[in-house]
C-alpha cells in the first residue's frame, strides 16, 4: 500500500502537473485484505455516501462453460443467503438505505453496494462474510433463479443485449466471451443445482481471487472488518479464443436492430486501448458524438457505441436501432473509416479535450469510481483505471495525437463483424 502511494506521489511530482492534476489532488491507495485478496480505496471525505464493491475473475458460464447463468445465480444467492446476524447482505444494504447491484460479465463478476457512510463498515463486514465464506442454501438458490429468470426474459426484448451476445458469440469461438451471461430459456436456469452453485461459489468467490474497490467517504480502517477469507493467489485473467474470420450473419428476435463489432487491443496495450476509447467518445457519445448528433431522434433512432476494455482482446461495439438501421449502419461505417485519415490538428485537440472532460464526468461519483477501479483490476491492469487520477490512463489520453489514432483505426477497425437482428413476424404483430 505504501509503495503504491509513494509511486503515485512521485508521478505527481515529476509529470502530472501538465495533465491538470496538481499536488493537491487526492489519489487512491491500495493494499492487501486481511485474509487474502486486494483492495483499492479512493477516499472523498466531503461526500455522505460510500461505494463498496468486490470483483472476481470468474467465467460467466461456469468453469466448463457449460452453465450459462451460473455466475449470476451464484452471486445473487450469496448476496441473499442469511448471515450470522440473521440478515442477508442484500437485506443489510436495503435496511441501511442503500442499493445492491450485481454485474456479471463473461469473464468477471462485480458486486456493488452504495450506502450512506454510516453503514459502510457494516456492509464491508457483511459483504466479506457473504462472499468469502458463502453459505448458500436452497432458499437463496430459488431467489437467485427467480431473479435470473426475470432478467433473462427482459433480455429478450433488449436489442442491445441480444446484439452484444450475438456479436461476442461470433467473434470468439470458445472461452467465456463466447457464451451469454444468461441462458435463453428459464429451463436452463432451473437446471443449475444447489451443488453446482456451491462448488462454483467456493472456487470463484475466494478472497484471494477478489479485489475490493471502495470510493466515497470510506475509512481505511473498515478493511479490518473483513474477517472472512483465506490466503492464496488470484486466478489469472481469463482469455477467450478469437475466430479466424468471423462472418456477418443475421438473427431473429422480439426486437430489431443492427450490431457492429471490431476486435481491438488488449488492456495491456494502454495507448491503443485509450485511442479506441477516444474514437468511441468522438463518434458515439450521447449528445456530443459526431455520429450520435447526426441521428434524428424523432423516429426513435439511436446509435450506441463503446470500446469495451477487456483483458485480451478488447471489443469496439456499436448497436443501432430505430426505423432506419441500414442507413445508420452506413453512417457508422463511413464515420469510422474516415478516422483512418488523421484529423485536423485543431479539431483533434478540441476532441481530445472533450474526451478528457467526459472521462472526468463519467467518474465523478463514488459508485462510478468503485466500479471503474474494480473492473480494471479484474481485467488485469489496475494501474490503468481512469478513476485513479494518478493512473497511466491520463498520461495516455493526454498524449494521443491524430496520426496515432488514425493508425490504430487502420489497424483495428478495418474489418467489422455485422449482425442484423430481425423482429420475428409474431413480434411485429404484437407490437402493432
Amino acid at each position: 500500500m505504501k509503495q503504491r502511494v509513494l509511486i503515485a506521489l512521485a508521478a505527481l511530482a515529476i509529470g502530472l502537473a501538465p495533465l491538470g492534476i496538481s499536488a493537491a489532488a487526492d489519489v487512491p491507495t491500495s493494499g492487501s485484505l486481511p485474509h487474502g485478496g486486494n483492495y483499492v480505496l479512493y477516499r472523498d471525505q466531503t461526500l455522505p455516501e460510500a461505494a463498496i464493491d468486490v470483483w472476481f475473475r470468474a467465467p460467466g458460464a461456469g468453469y466448463d462453460n457449460g452453465s450459462p447463468g451460473i455466475a449470476r445465480i451464484a452471486a445473487t444467492a450469496a448476496a441473499t443467503s442469511t448471515l450470522e446476524s440473521g440478515k442477508s447482505l442484500y437485506g443489510i444494504i436495503r435496511s441501511s438505505g442503500g442499493r445492491l447491484t450485481i454485474n456479471v460479465y463473461p469473464d468477471i463478476i462485480g458486486i456493488s453496494a452504495i450506502v450512506p457512510t454510516t453503514a459502510g463498515r457494516r456492509v464491508i463486514a457483511a459483504m466479506s462474510a457473504a462472499f468469502f465464506s458463502p453459505a448458500i442454501d436452497d432458499t437463496a438458490l430459488k431467489t437467485a433463479q427467480r431473479d435470473a429468470a426475470v432478467l433473462s426474459v427482459a433480455r429478450r426484448y433488449s436489442s442491445d443485449d441480444l446484439l452484444h451476445d450475438a456479436l461476442f458469440a461470433q467473434i470468439f469461438t470458445s472461452g467465456p466471451n463466447h457464451y451469454p451471461p444468461l441462458p435463453e430459456t428459464v429451463n436452463e436456469i432451473r437446471k443449475i443445482s444447489l451443488a453446482d452453485v456451491k462448488t462454483y461459489a467456493k472456487r470463484a468467490f475466494r478472497s484471494a481471487n477478489a479485489t475490493m474497490s471502495l470510493a466515497g467517504n470510506v475509512d481505511p480502517t473498515w478493511i479490518e472488518a473483513v474477517t472472512a477469507g483465506a490466503p492464496g493467489s488470484a486466478d489469472a485473467p481469463i482469455k477467450s479464443t478469437l475466430a479466424n474470420a468471423p462472418a456477418n450473419t443475421s438473427i431473429t428476435g422480439n426486437v430489431a436492430g443492427i450490431g457492429i463489432a471490431w476486435t481491438g487491443p488488449p488492456i495491456s496495450d494502454e495507448r491503443a486501448a485509450t485511442a479506441l476509447d477516444f474514437v468511441a467518445d468522438y463518434l458515439f457519445r450521447d449528445e456530443t458524438g459526431k455520429v450520435a448528433k447526426s441521428v434524428a431522434v424523432e423516429s426513435g433512432n439511436y446509435v450506441s457505441g463503446q470500446f469495451i476494455t477487456l483483458h485480451d482482446p478488447g471489443v469496439m461495439l456499436v448497436t443501432i436501432g430505430g426505423d432506419k438501421p441500414a442507413e445508420l449502419k452506413q453512417i457508422v461505417l463511413g464515420a469510422v473509416s474516415a478516422l483512418s485519415t488523421p484529423l485536423d490538428p485543431k479539431a483533434f485537440e478540441a476532441a481530445r479535450a472533450a474526451f478528457i472532460y467526459h472521462l472526468a464526468v463519467d467518474t465523478q461519483n463514488p459508485i462510478e469510481q468503485a466500479d471503474n477501479l474494480g473492473w480494471y483490476a479484474a481485467e488485469g491492469n489496475a494501474s490503468y483505471a481512469p478513476s485513479d487520477p494518478s493512473s497511466s490512463y491520463w498520461q495516455r489520453a493526454n498524449t494521443l495525437d491524430p496520426a496515432y489514432v488514425a493508425s490504430v483505426v487502420k489497424q483495428y477497425l478495418a474489418h467489422p463483424v455485422i449482425i442484423e437482428l430481425t423482429a420475428s413476424p409474431a413480434s411485429k404483430e404484437s407490437a402493432s
Partner: protein, 435 residues
Amino acid sequence: MKSRAAALALICAFAFPSVALAAAPAVSNSGGTTVIQQQDNAAPLVHVTFVVRAGLNRQTMAQNGVAALTAQTILRTAIDGVPLEDAVAAHGGGVHFTVDPSDVRFAVESTPAQASTVFDLFRRAVAAPAFDAKTVTSARGALQTQITMNQQIALQVGMDMLAGNDAASANAALPALGIPGALAQMGPADVRDFYAKFYRRGGSFVSGVGRLDALANGTLEALAQTLPAGDSTAVAVSLPKLEGTTHQYVTHRDIAAPWLIAQYPAPPIDSKDYGPMLVLSSFMQRTLSEIAQVPGVVSSTATSRAVGAMYQFDRTDPNLTLYVNGSIGNPNRAFATALSVASILAATKLNGPIDEFKALAAGDFVSESTSLESRAWLAVLFSQNGQSADYVGRTLNAIANTSNADLQRVARQYLGNPAIALVLPRDNSAQAQNP
C-alpha cells in the same frame, strides 16, 4: 470460527461508526451575490453553478420562452469567434442551463487544468452576450430541437401540464423552454430587453464545488461581479383558479404506452414537514416498485423502474409526484394502488417502527446528492433566506427527527386530492383514416 469472527465484526461496526460527515459549505457575500464554496480534492472537475433571478416568473404570458432564449443566446455568444458552448467543450469543459420558475441557473465545469480559461470564457459571455440576429436565431433553433426531444419524454410532458395546477403565478408555470410558436415571434430586441432588465446581481448565487483550488484567486467573486448591481422583481400574473378539487389533464404524444402521473402539493425545505415528506416519498417509491416488480426479485428491472415517486422540494411550488409507465403489465392497477396507499397513509394510524423508511429516505437523499452539479445546486437551495447551506446535515437531521405522528400528519395534510395527468399514445390508425 470465521463466521463468529464476522458476527463480532458486525457488532463492532454497529458500535463504532468511524466516519465523520462532510463539513458544511463555506458561504460569503460578494456585493449582493452569495458565493458558496465546497472544496473537494478527490473530485475530477471544477464545477460552478451560477444562479440569476431571471426565470419563468420574469416573463409575461406573451413572452413564453424568452428566459430560455436569453440563456441559450449566452451559450451561443461567440467568444474569440467561437460560440461559448463550443469553445468551452474545446477546452475540456461543459456548460448548460436550466430555467426554473424563478431562476435561470448555468452549470459550468471543466477539468482543473483548463478551469481558468473555461471560466473566463463563461464570464465574458455572461457579461456581454451577442444580441445580433444570427446569434439569437441560432439559439432559437437549438431550443426548438430540445423542445422536440422533450416532447417525446412522456413524464416531462405530464409534469409540464401539472406545473400550472398550484402555481402561485401563472407565468411561473409556463413550459421551461417556451413553445415553438411563441419563440418564433421573438427577436433580438426581446432578448436584449429581458437581459437588461433581469440579469442583475441581486439575489444571484455563485456555487462552486470540486477542485476549486485550480481556479485563480478571486475567480468566483469575479463571476459574481459580472452582472450590474441591483435587483429585479417578478412579473405577477394571476389567472382564475380551476374549480373542483381534483383536476385531470389529458394529452397525446407519439409514445408506445400511456403514462399515468399524479401530483400532490408538498412542503418546502424550511418547513417542519420536509423530513417527514422525504420519508413518505421514499416509502411511496419502494411501495410502488414492489407493486410493479415480480415478487422476490433482487435486481432492478425495467418493470421496477417503470414506476416511481419524486419529491421535488427544489421547486418554487414543491410537489410529490407519483408516476406509472404503462408499458408494465397493468398500469391501472399499479396507479390505483399507489393512490390507495396515499389515502390509507393519511387515514390510518401508523404504529410500527419507521426506522427502515427513514434509512431509505436518507439513502435516497445522499445518493442523489453526490454529482458536482447536484451538490452545487443543493447548497444554493439550502442557503436561501439566510439559512445554513449544510444540505446534508439539515436533511439527515430532518429525517432522523421524523416520528410516526409526523408521517401521519404530513400524509393527511398533503396527500389529499392529487392532480392527475394522462399522457396517451396517439391513435395513428385514426389519423391515417382521417388525415
